[in-house]
Amino acid sequence: MTNVNLGRRDVLKLAAGAALAAPAIARADGPRVLRFVPQANLSSLDAVAGTQYVVRNAATMVWETLYGVDSTFTAQPQMCEGHEVSADFKTWTFKLRPGLTFHDGSAVTTRDVLASLQRWMVRDTMGQVIHGRLDALEAIDDRSFRFRLNKPFTKMLFALGKSNAPMALIMPERIAKTDPFQLIKEYVGSGPMRFRADEWVPGSRAVFEQFAGYKPREEKADWLAGGRHMLFDRIEWQILPDPATAGAALQSGEVDWWELPIPDLVPLLKRNKDIVVDILDPLGNLGSLRMNHLYPPFNDPRARHALLMAVSQTDYMEAVCGGDDSLWQETASFFTPGTALFTEDGGGQLKGPRNYDAAKKLLAESGYNGEKVILMVATDISITKAEGDVTADVLGKIGMNVDYQALDWGTVGARRSKKDPPGKGGWNIFHTWHAGADCINPAAYTALDAGGAKAWFGWPNSPAVEEGIVAWYDAADAAAEKAAAAAINRAAFEDVVYIPTGFFRQYQAWRGNLTGVVKSPFPVFWGVQKT
């Protein structure tokens, strides 16, 4: 019972070359098919209820948003014709473009939009802020709708158009009515590609096919803004978890584009004249060492500062980036280097030569007396494994008693949410990383929240950081935003919300015959073609 959908092209190929077909024609090939190796397995396609990056990347092909950010992070109209906002920023009115259709043929109406937004607001931090100020979200007619807020909200367009997960994707009403904590089971959108659920082999292959009824905007494409001209009939996502296999497949031309080549294989790929290797996401990533602020030893700020004094971002980054020094830099900031809010205010302890003796002394002062420190390491992801190994080493250097627990990403994900004491199923340290695009400002930056029990895993508690975030939301202009960011950074280092392990970028690699590949925080498939 195989699910090979034989199109006319395949049948002809079969007839023409049944026994003599050479290996190259073995799979659906040709210039109108793109074979892409994503960063991870696509386990579902619900980019609102699930926030994995790989799901978000796939969703940008299948669904659209009302607005879409361009490469300057300014939200431009996408599904909307335009908007009107009251002077006090409390009333926002929007109008949809005419002629938008879903993949099942039905027209996009405000009922679909409203249902989708309601679902999104439950899961998204900016959406929650909007919801908290919402008097009413109502339809005016089939194509117009309005937000009525009781408090001003200046960042509405960004919220609706951002690329950070979860995006405000517009789905048919019946699908959008799914509980926000359940995964949707039907994947129908209005985007340039439709998802071929019948050809989906989870863990191995996901197939997207061009939607004939899509009408791109007229403006030039720029990230999520502008017209999405899809130049492929078919995009196949091939999940290849073994990096050696993926590398070999790219070299032999069996796949066209590899999203996350491991840094060690990059020199080999660069030497291959048929392959282009480049950094497509200049916003990079921030590595993260998260401590548990609820229990000893890291409930005491002195212990946190001791660790801060001892960690060497160089060690972390060398391990994560495979020895390629051009990929990383040290950063004493919680915000993405190269963006508007970047500041190293308050990050002095991360810089300069490491002082293990001072760290040990501070640790002793905090009352640490040799208790076990539970370090959860997700060994199935190269980034977290590298971070975990280096941390185990550092903890040893300052005299801490490490309990290195090798787990998989799923188990880490489960255990990190537990507020139990470390000895009883809880934890002291785990690692992760955040896409630079998620750390440009406090809006989509869940990991920066320091509201104690309501914060992200680790539950840092810093009133100063919380004040800074509120100040940012209320900031009237760019200067005020920068000041708020500086205050947040200082406070975040003062209370050591988490420890950034460094800023790093990652290469992507693709065959030389692909043109139109652009730099962006997520793979952009429109405008790309194979020659």
Binding site: M1, T2, N3, V4, L6, D10, K13, L14, G17, A18, A19, L20, A21, A22, P23, I25, A26, R27, N41, S43, S44, A49, G50, T51, Q52, A165, F181, Q182, L183, K185, V201, P202, G203, S204, R205, Q238, L240, P241, D242, A244, T245, A246, A248, A249, Q251, S252, E254, D380, D408, W409, G410, T411, G413, A414, S417, K418, K419, T446, K454, W456
Partner: protein, 313 residues
Amino acid sequence: MWRYAGRRALSTIPVMAIVALFVFSLLYIAPGDPAAIIAGDQASAEDIARIHASLGLDRPFLVRFAEWLWDVARGDLGTSIFANLTVTHMIGQRVEPTLSLMALTLVFSIVVAVPLGVLAAAKAGSWIDRLVMLFAVLGFSVPVFVVGYVLAYVFALQLDWLPVQGYTPLSRGVWPWLSNLILPVLALGAIYIALIARITRASMLEVLGQDYIRTARAKGLGLAPILFLHALKNASVPIVTVIGLGVALLIGGAVVTESVFAIPGIGRLVVDAILRRDYPVIQGVTLMFSFLYVLVNLVVDVLYSLLDPRIRQ
């Protein structure tokens, strides 16, 4: 023979029941929480708990076991937690690659190993014998994935004779299908060839040493007809048994081979599912493989009884 076959078939039922109980209870006490993965990176503890409850993971054991057994009996192996597809559908999608890999390996191994074993037995004690046995032992000793990587490196990357990875369905042509399977079959077959060659040699040696063979030779019959007519038939019993037992080896090896060569088969499905704690998939696949194994052994036992009537009592 049919009565024996019937009795043997009946005896598989309690075995399968135990497997079912074992498989089911294994996963019930597993730690790790699929709810957290579905919830995603930014989820809170309340989100995870809510998803946990909606998945029904906190109802009592016996209730869930009974429900599950009833579903399985009706052919419903459940729905994958992550993919929202039925387990039956997911297995169906991946049956062809794994079956192709296993069947080809089986055929290839038997075709290569039996003659090798016979040859070694015929020239027992000579350098040919020693060489064959050395290769056999090597086949056991080098891990499957090492063989796989070496083969891929030499034949796919350096010489570019064969594709590095992937699987092409048979419907797209015999050669494309074969070309993707040649290296995996070689890698997986090494250990199987070693096993079968050894047993073939040992059985042949035993048979060759028996009186009636020596009588036939003394009477002047040539070596070749003796070997292939009498000896092989008598030696086939343990060979067939080993082939049955070896299916378990094949399944285990297929898991690794599918990982190395990125073959979208059931082996990879189950490894992914286990690391992600996708309960329904793990249960369904393990049950299926066990059923397959029991079935193969049933067939082997019946064949065995055909070849050796003494067994039927």
